[in-house]
């Protein structure tokens, strides 16, 4: 009974919607947007859009990226959401994979294909980039002064002993953009060397946060001094008056933040209008507001930006040094996350203990060189850097299969269970870190 | 209490009813609390369940009120089987040992409660509450909270709260146990006169034989879930059915010995330190049992004369003595068994010294041979 009614109502709604489209170009009705963006950004766009299209009421539903994706998945059977609007491209990839997005080609002209080395839009048109952001290093100037720390410039700086216990990052498994930073380092330096760098930096971590915003939040309040964050967090913090600064390292990726229309969107017309608005010069200018501070994807908009505003289309060093391979990234996405969690996040205490021992041994050896000691430290560093899987293994769909449920056919090989794989990696890391610490301590004894 | 008040207004149109308990069995798990109880309580009777704690008397009372359910048997009130009725439909009024006055209501509201539940018209409630409070002499305290009353006052409120609904039967669960001794004596008289005035069938649970004896028409003595004997206080005292009843009502002297045939026919009870004590007819030689008699059946004979006719001489040693005022109670050792003797006391009388010899005359015809 109610289902029939529901059907009738839906039919009426469709008729109504199409008739409105026929009679008036301007859409109307309620537009529901699920987004992970902060209020500063969403309400600015909401106001600007409603000014331009007064007949549309924009409903913003704020959820973090993960919860947003889960929400769309769970509600797909009776979808009430028009747009999904978030940073991490991988979240859109998941939605795309689950067939929850629908293609739309924006009407706006003048948007380049690539920002930095990253394509702006999804090749299949399922989602479109509207603002670029890059990862970098953010620090609290008061904290740095109190602890006598120099400002870091490059990722490798963060591995220096002086920054021990001062750095923070959010877990790549929790933050799509952090994932891209880790992946960028891996692609820029190669699998083995990249992990070595990642782990050497990780040895200096003070904490690994679960929310992306946890990192800028902690730097802002001075809980820790240095954070690996996405640019707009730092820029908007700065704009809010916090004593923080930000730098892009040479090896970084500029990635677009995206917007996509949800499949079976109740108000498709308004959704399309919104996407076009966001990409329009009017919409792009909103990004320049001090509380938002994102990089427009429309190069023309930079003309209106403040003088020191980073411009990835002009400054070719910005994000262009790594040619980011999306397919490589996609193939080992979950494996990289799980490796980071098992080798770093959940073994942080052991990793830090090993790193501390290495730092101390090296400091002592610098004063009193000793060949055997040097060799021991090198061994210790190798133990820390050692990986349980090679680049080839990481790309193996068999291994990736442990993390996803999709099984294409009944004859597919049954992969190992995720818990088994993780336990193996964790045990590997624990053992290596303990051994590394022991070697470093031996070296320290030799240097005394 | 207000003697001018006519209870008729409270009990108008009420007729006393009897309570019958038929073959009731009740167990908690494997523990049998009541074992095949049969009782017939007459209309208007003031009836007591008397027994030590744990004997099942309160369980039986709560069964009548509907708070316990028997596995077997039935309870009828005024000829109507109430076994299946929930407590609130039984029309039996119960006064709880703790009084169970609701602390969040005033005295007046406490008393009015039952009438309100019966949807009695407002005006009538007021009238009847006034009457009930008047009856227990607490009209002036109607607006106090229970916690502002003394124990005796609380007791009266509990009583007023119960009788105001004009129950068919009044159940009293150790109602006097929380009162001081003097108040207890006073309250039991008030209870009795109230019961007589209302003509209300009343069941009174107590472990105090004096309480039961002084106010109850009949008593059911209970032990171990079994009704040991039913009777008037005097019947129970004078003719206890067994040693338990004998011991529970008043002080009993119990002697162990053998039943032997006497030369001149009949049987006698033979103990050490005394001549054989003749027994009534019908007790065969070798019967197992004990001889029970009361302290007042013994007389102290320090004059050295022969025992009076029908008396048996017992010779013993005074072990200790208790000065009770009107009398002195001596504990006397007779051939290794102890008996108690009450001697009337007059001012100036000397007390017998402990550990001194004593001669007692025993009115043998007052003794009872009890097989269990």
């Amino acid at each position: 009974m109610s289902r029939t009614l529901h059907g009738v109502a839906a039919a009426l709604a469709v008729m109504l919607a199409s008739s409105t489209a026929a009679f008036a170009q301007d859409p109307s009705g309620k537009l529901v947007v699920v987004t992970s963006f902060p209020k500063d950004l969403t309400s600015a766009f909401q106001q600007a859009f409603q000014k331009a299209h007064p007949k549309v009421t924009v409903e913003i539903l704020n959820r973090n990226t993960n919860a947003g994706v889960k929400y769309l998945q769970e509600t797909a059977s009776n979808n009430g959401t028009d747009l999904f609007w978030a940073s991490a491209p991988d979240a859109f990839e998941v939605l795309k994979g689950a067939n929850l997005l629908q293609a739309y080609k924006p009407k706006v002209e003048g948007i380049p294909d690539k920002v930095g080395a990253y394509p702006v839009n999804d090749p299949e048109g399922m989602y479109a980039g509207f603002a670029a952001s890059g990862y970098g290093i953010m620090w609290n100037t008061r904290y740095m002064k109190a602890n006598n720390l120099p400002a870091p410039k490059e990722w490798s700086d963060l591995a220096k002993p002086i920054y021990y216990d001062h750095v923070a990052i959010s877990a790549p498994s929790r933050s799509g953009t952090t994932h891209l930073t880790i992946e960028t380092i891996l692609q820029g330096e190669g699998w083995e060397k990249g992990w070595r760098t990642n782990k050497e930096i990780a040895g200096n971590y003070r904490t690994i946060t679960e929310r992306s915003f946890g990192v800028p939040d902690g730097v802002n309040s001075g809980s820790f001094g240095i954070g690996i964050v996405i640019d707009f967090f730092a820029l908007s913090s700065q704009a809010s008056g916090f004593p923080v600064e930000f730098a892009y390292p040479t090896v970084t990726t500029i990635v677009p933040a995206n917007i996509g229309i949800v499949k079976n969107a109740p108000n498709k017309a308004a959704a399309e209008t919104f996407v076009d608005f966001v990409l329009s010069p009017q919409g792009q200018e909103v990004l320049l507001q001090p509380a938002i501070r994102r990089l427009p994807v429309n190069p023309a908009t930079y003309a209106k930006a403040p003088a020191d505003y980073p411009n990835p289309f002009k400054d070719k060093s910005l994000g262009a040094s790594v040619n980011f391979d999306v397919e490589v990234s996609q193939a080992r996405y979950n494996v990289v996350d799980a490796l980071f969690d098992q080798l770093i996040t959940f073994q942080l205490d052991d990793l830090k203990a090993a790193t501390r021992a290495i730092h101390q041994a090296e400091a002592a050896l610098a004063k009193k060189p000793n060949e055997k000691g040097k060799a021991l430290v090198a061994e210790a560093r190798d133990l820390v850097a050692a990986m349980p899987v090679t680049a080839a293994e990481a790309a193996d769909p068999q291994l990736a299969g442990a993390f996803t449920v999709e099984r294409k056919s009944a004859t597919d090989a049954v992969p190992e269970r995720q818990a088994q794989v993780e336990q193996k990696w964790a045990a590997f890391a624990k053992e290596n870190y303990a051994a590394a610490r022991k070697k470093a301590e031996e070296a320290l004894v030799l240097a005394r | 209490m207000n003697q001018q008040f006519s209870p008729a207004s409270l009990t108008a149109g009420m007729e006393s009813v009897g309570v019958r308990i038929d073959g009731v069995d009740l167990s908690y798990g494997s523990h049998r609390v009541l074992k095949d109880i049969h009782l017939d309580i007459r209309p208007g009777e003031f009836f007591a369940f008397l027994g030590p704690s744990g004997c099942g008397k309160t369980t039986l009372l709560r069964l009548i009120a509907g708070f316990n359910t028997a596995q077997r048997g039935q309870v009828t009130i005024g000829g109507r089987d109430i076994s299946a009725l929930p407590p609130h439909k039984r029309d039996v009024g119960m006064v709880f040992q703790s009084y169970a006055l609701w602390p969040h209501m005033t005295v007046r509201r406490n008393v009015a409660f039952g009438l309100e539940e019966r949807r009695v018209p407002r005006a009538e409630i007021e009238r009847r509450v006034e009457a009930a409070l008047d009856l227990v002499g607490l009209k002036h305290l109607a607006d106090r909270r229970p916690s502002q009353l003394s124990g005796g006052q609380q007791q009266r409120v509990a009583l007023a709260r119960t009788i105001v609904i004009e129950p068919k039967v009044l159940l009293l669960d150790e109602p006097l146990s929380n009162l001081d001794a003097k108040l207890r004596v006073q309250m039991r008289q008030e209870l009795l006169s109230l019961q007589r005035k209302l003509g209300l069938t009343t069941i009174f649970v107590t472990h105090d034989q004096e309480e039961a004896n002084t106010i109850c028409d009949r008593i059911a003595v209970m032990d171990d879930g079994i009704v040991q004997q039913v009777g008037t206080p005097q019947e129970l005292y004078d003719h206890p059915a067994n040693l338990f009843v004998a011991g529970f009502l008043g002080t009993a002297n119990v002697l162990e010995g053998q039943v032997r045939a006497m030369d001149g026919g009949g049987t006698a009870f033979v103990i050490g330190g005394a001549s054989p004590i003749p027994l009534p007819h019908g007790i065969e030689p070798g019967a197992k049992g004990k001889l029970m008699f009361r302290p007042q059946n013994l007389f102290i004979r320090q004059d050295g004369g022969a025992p009076r006719h029908g008396h048996v001489r017992l010779m013993g040693v005074v072990r200790h003595r208790e000065f009770l005022g009107a009398s002195i109670r001596y504990a006397v050792d007779i051939g290794g068994q102890q008996v108690q003797v009450d001697a009337p006391h007059q001012a100036g009388d000397a007390l017998l010294p402990p550990d001194g010899p004593i001669n007692l005359d025993f009115a043998a015809d007052k003794a009872r041979f009890l097989r269990r």
Binding site: K39, I60, A291, F346 | H88, H104, E117, T162
Partner: protein
Amino acid sequence: MTSLALSREGLARVRPGPAVAAVLIALFLLLFLVVPVVQVIFVAFQDKTTGAFTLVNFADFFRNDLFMRSFWNSFYVSAMSVVVASLLALPLAYLTTRFEFRGAVLIQSLGIIPLIMPPFIGAVAMQLLFGRNGTVNLLLREHFGFSIPFMEGLNGVIFVQSIHYFPFILINLSASLKNIDRAMEESAQNLGCHGFRLFRRIVFPLAMPGYVAGASLVFIKVFDDLGTPLLLNVNDMLAPQAYLRISSIGISDPMGYVISVVLIVCSLLALWVSALAMKGKDYATVQRGGGGLARRRMKPLEMVAAYGVVLLILVLVLAPHIGLTLLSFATIWSFSPFPDALTLKHYDTVFVESGQYITNTLLYASLAALLDVVIGTAIAYLVLRTKLAGRQWLDYVAMAALAVPGVVLGIGYLRSFYDVPMPFTGQPLSGFWLILVFALAIRRLPYALRACTAALQQVSSSLEEAAENLGATKLRTISRVVVPLMSGGILAGFVTSFATAAVELSATIMLVHSQSDAPLAYGLYVYMQSAAGRGPGAALGIFAVIIVGLGTYLSHVIIERGRRERGQDH
């Protein structure tokens, strides 16, 4: 004849009222707790590749070092939190109920405020005050050259959790202490017991039901809580592990659900143990019109010491709120003992933007709390006063809600109710705001249930029997005697449920379908996601605290007035 009598007695025993109530409650729990949760956690018993039933995931759990470490960490943190929370709650409860203490009501009210620490900002405030570079440590380092690691690792979790949850012990213990017949204490004094021995041997054991109720709540709550460890970035505990795994996108790892099952089982176990510990300790002490501990006067020196202790504890437990207040007025507060400057502009922002959040919150939280005390009272009554078969299970199932992570419940609701369209509008049922109320009610039911159970335990059953004996039906007895006598406990349950529901986030965030239906916690969440939103977020948090705090204070006033009217306080 016998069989006839038997059947009639059978009729007498099975009265429909309680059974109907039990069935209704069971249905409610089934529909809004069991079904949604099972919808989610059945994954734990599924083979990932074949979908068949398996227990291999549980074997994996016990073979995994990380999970075992998480398990023991959770256990350690919970146990230590109970210890620390008890140290905080005992003096407050004892001093305010046992002595003539000016401001006792105020202290009792302030004592519950930690419970209403809104999510996110609580930990932010604590970091600002006690963190490695917080106010206290910055000052210590500047003046004395050392710092105290309050907030490092598990310490931080224990510290924040005990402060956050100690009111559970305070509320329940105070209620129990108030209900102890003064004769109990006096008779012990009469027998030569006094001072601390009196407390340890008589007063505390008598107040045990309340204490155990509170302590078990603290244990379970800490065991299951994920917000605090996550915000302090402590990941190697069970609840955060479950959350991290369940909420990972694109990954379908059954371990998150396995951990959820483990959490539920552990909570049930804790409840069972506490029930076992309390068996046969039904201290119905309300005898002749109730008593309550006699309040004593203190000697001047004792008074000074007592106020000192109370003040110290209050400062400690209110620290998050003090920090929050500062934050709400702060322009910039970064790596400094105090904010750079103060401003009112955050309140301005909140006033303009957040009226809807506040009205929604008041509506949802009070409806949920109302539902909770009704169901809580009913379950407590069924469990303690009837012989209904399986009645204990209502209690267990309702309490198990404690163990269900909010995310699991949220996802379960979406799965269970999304496909059900609402009559006429055709919108998904899960988007209906009443669903949010049910979710809140389920989440907070355990609090109300424990408070109601403790209250009912202290009502002597003869008070009920007297009413029935005078002709009141069971229902009337409950409404006229039981409920009024439980009112203190019921009100305490209402306040706890209301206060905590008002700041609940984890299930809410999954179920909010439109901004106009969103409660305050959601608004806070949105604010706290940006640098510029920290001040307004804190201001909104302060609003939440004030609203709920006022509600609490009013209820205490009502309780106290009731006690005085009843003449229990002379």
